[in-house]
């Protein structure tokens, strides 16, 4: 980060390579459409580049800064254009012919999950993404979003509950049976 601030282009390139996918997933859950998410990723890194001189390390991971930029960029984008949720964009296309059946299952699950998530409030979507997709702790999410740890836990609980209801309403709850009885729960 410091090297990038000092003007090292390759350092900024490394930051991009390292964080593009988390930023992409963040953008994807915000926009719901693959192409819009890709455009948003470009916007996020361009904004981050412009803000590089003003960036101060406040003990948060750099990705938190990127998420904040992404959040603002997504808000600006949604103000400009009405987001057009395209679930097809989110369907994962198998890259090889191997294990095609498993890929189709995963793709169906992801489609159902993102469709349900798209019906949630942005705050719920964000907390689900940061906590369970990106795997940040409640305290970290709290620092990233300006909430207390307790508030994040409350929000996450409500978000999961709302997501479950959305999936049940759509009749997709049974798709996730293979995940039940698994390992650890979210902390």
């Amino acid at each position: 980060m410091k090297a990038a601030q000092a003007g090292d282009a390759s350092a900024f390139g490394q930051l991009y390579e390292r964080y593009r996918d988390p930023v992409y997933r963040y953008c994807l859950t915000r926009t719901g459409a693959k192409h819009e998410a890709e455009d948003l990723v470009a916007d996020v890194f361009l904004r981050a580049m412009e803000a590089l001189d003003r960036y101060e390390d406040r003990g948060l991971p750099f990705v938190a800064f990127l998420f904040r930029v992404a959040r603002n960029a997504a808000i600006d984008k949604s103000r400009r254009t009405r987001p057009d949720m395209s679930v097809d964009d989110l369907v994962h296309h198998p890259e090889s012919g191997q294990n095609v059946e498993a890929e189709v299952v995963r793709s169906t699950e992801r489609e159902a999950l993102v469709e349900a998530m798209s019906k949630l409030k942005p705050d719920y979507r964000e907390v689900l993404l940061l906590r369970f997709v990106e795997g940040y702790g409640a305290a970290d999410v709290g620092r990233m979003t300006g909430r207390s740890e307790g508030a994040v836990r409350t929000l996450q609980h409500r978000a999961v509950e709302r997501l479950r209801r959305e999936l049940e309403r759509a009749g997709d709850a049974s798709l996730f049976d293979r995940w039940s009885g698994g390992a650890e729960a979210a902390k």
Binding site: R25, L28, A42, H92, L113, F132, A185
Partner: protein, 303 residues
């Protein structure tokens, strides 16, 4: 379907990746933006002054602008700023009357200068500024007058200009289109026959510096006259001594005349008029202390 199931299913979304094609496109876009940013920054760095040099440049600029403003003449766009600053400084003066008098004289001289030069616009701006100074003076003067002794002593009689073949070193006010500075009436005392030198050739106006023997300067004395019933008096004789010769006439209830005096002199004005109906002489008097080139007396009632 419980919460744990859902949470684990959400974790499955972690495998979502940006496509390489899109990633390459974004990378290229970022590389271009980085190059632009770098060239912009190097351009900016070329113009950046070191901190002390910047502070020095700003300070020098402020001083230069301030200096230029305070020296701005009436034909300068900074003139109104100068007048505003000068007027604002009145409150900070230990002797506001002398300060405003100085301002008045300076502006009077400036107006005369521009009139002589044929610059009517600048002259009118200077006149406005001069009237502004006069207004300030009128605001300050009553407070000072209240502190003066009520009766003039014999030793503080007015000083009339003595006939002299050479003009006084002090500046004679030039005629102007504004009523405040137009000397419509002159003292009865004969003036030098020679015309006053042009303003541009005149020596600089001596500033009223604290001195044990202040110099004389022309004072414009003004006031109003009414009868006991408050109706205005016309054609009365205005003199500077009791039953002295008339040094000014007056009309429409107002009088004015010019007189040479020093700062601190008390000028007494005696007015008389014969009432044709009764044959009685109505009289009135007023007085004031000279603090500036203009002495505004109040209303004098003839009884």
């Amino acid at each position: 379907m419980n919460e744990d199931t859902l949470v684990r299913a959400l974790g499955g979304l972690r495998t979502a990746r940006m496509s390489e094609t899109a990633s390459d496109r974004v990378r290229e876009e970022l590389e271009n933006a980085w190059r632009e940013r770098a060239s912009r920054q190097s351009l900016r760095r070329g113009f950046v002054l070191p901190g002390f040099a910047r502070a020095f440049a700003i300070a020098a600029l402020v001083v230069a602008v301030g200096f230029a403003t305070l020296r701005a003449s009436a034909d300068s766009p900074l003139y109104s700023a100068r007048i505003a600053i000068e007027d604002a400084l009145v409150g900070l003066q230990a002797d506001p009357i002398s300060y405003v008098s100085e301002l008045y004289e300076e502006r009077l001289e400036e107006a005369a200068h521009f009139e002589a030069a044929g610059n009517a616009l600048a002259a009118s701006r200077a006149r406005e500024a001069q009237e502004d100074a006069l207004r300030l003076l009128n605001k300050i003067e009553p407070q000072v007058r209240q502190e003066q002794p009520p009766e003039p002593s014999a030793s503080t009689a007015i000083t009339l200009p003595s006939p002299s073949p050479t003009p006084e070193s002090t500046v004679e006010p030039s005629p102007s289109p504004t009523p405040t500075a137009t000397p419509t009436m002159r003292p009865a005392t004969p003036r030098p026959a020679t015309p006053p030198p042009a303003v541009t050739d005149r020596p600089a106006t001596p500033k009223p510096t604290p001195s044990p023997t202040p110099t004389q300067f022309p004072v414009h004395v003004m006031g109003t006259l009414t009868y006991a019933d408050s109706s205005p008096v016309n054609d009365a004789c205005v003199s500077a001594t009791l039953d002295g010769s008339c040094i000014g006439t007056q009309a429409n209830g107002q009088f004015e005349f010019w007189i040479f005096a020093k700062k601190g002199d008390t000028i007494a004005v005696y007015v008389r008029k014969v009432d044709l109906m009764s044959g009685r002489t109505l009289r009135g008097k007023d007085y004031g202390t000279v603090t500036s080139p203009t002495l505004l007396l109040g209303n004098t009632t003839l009884r």
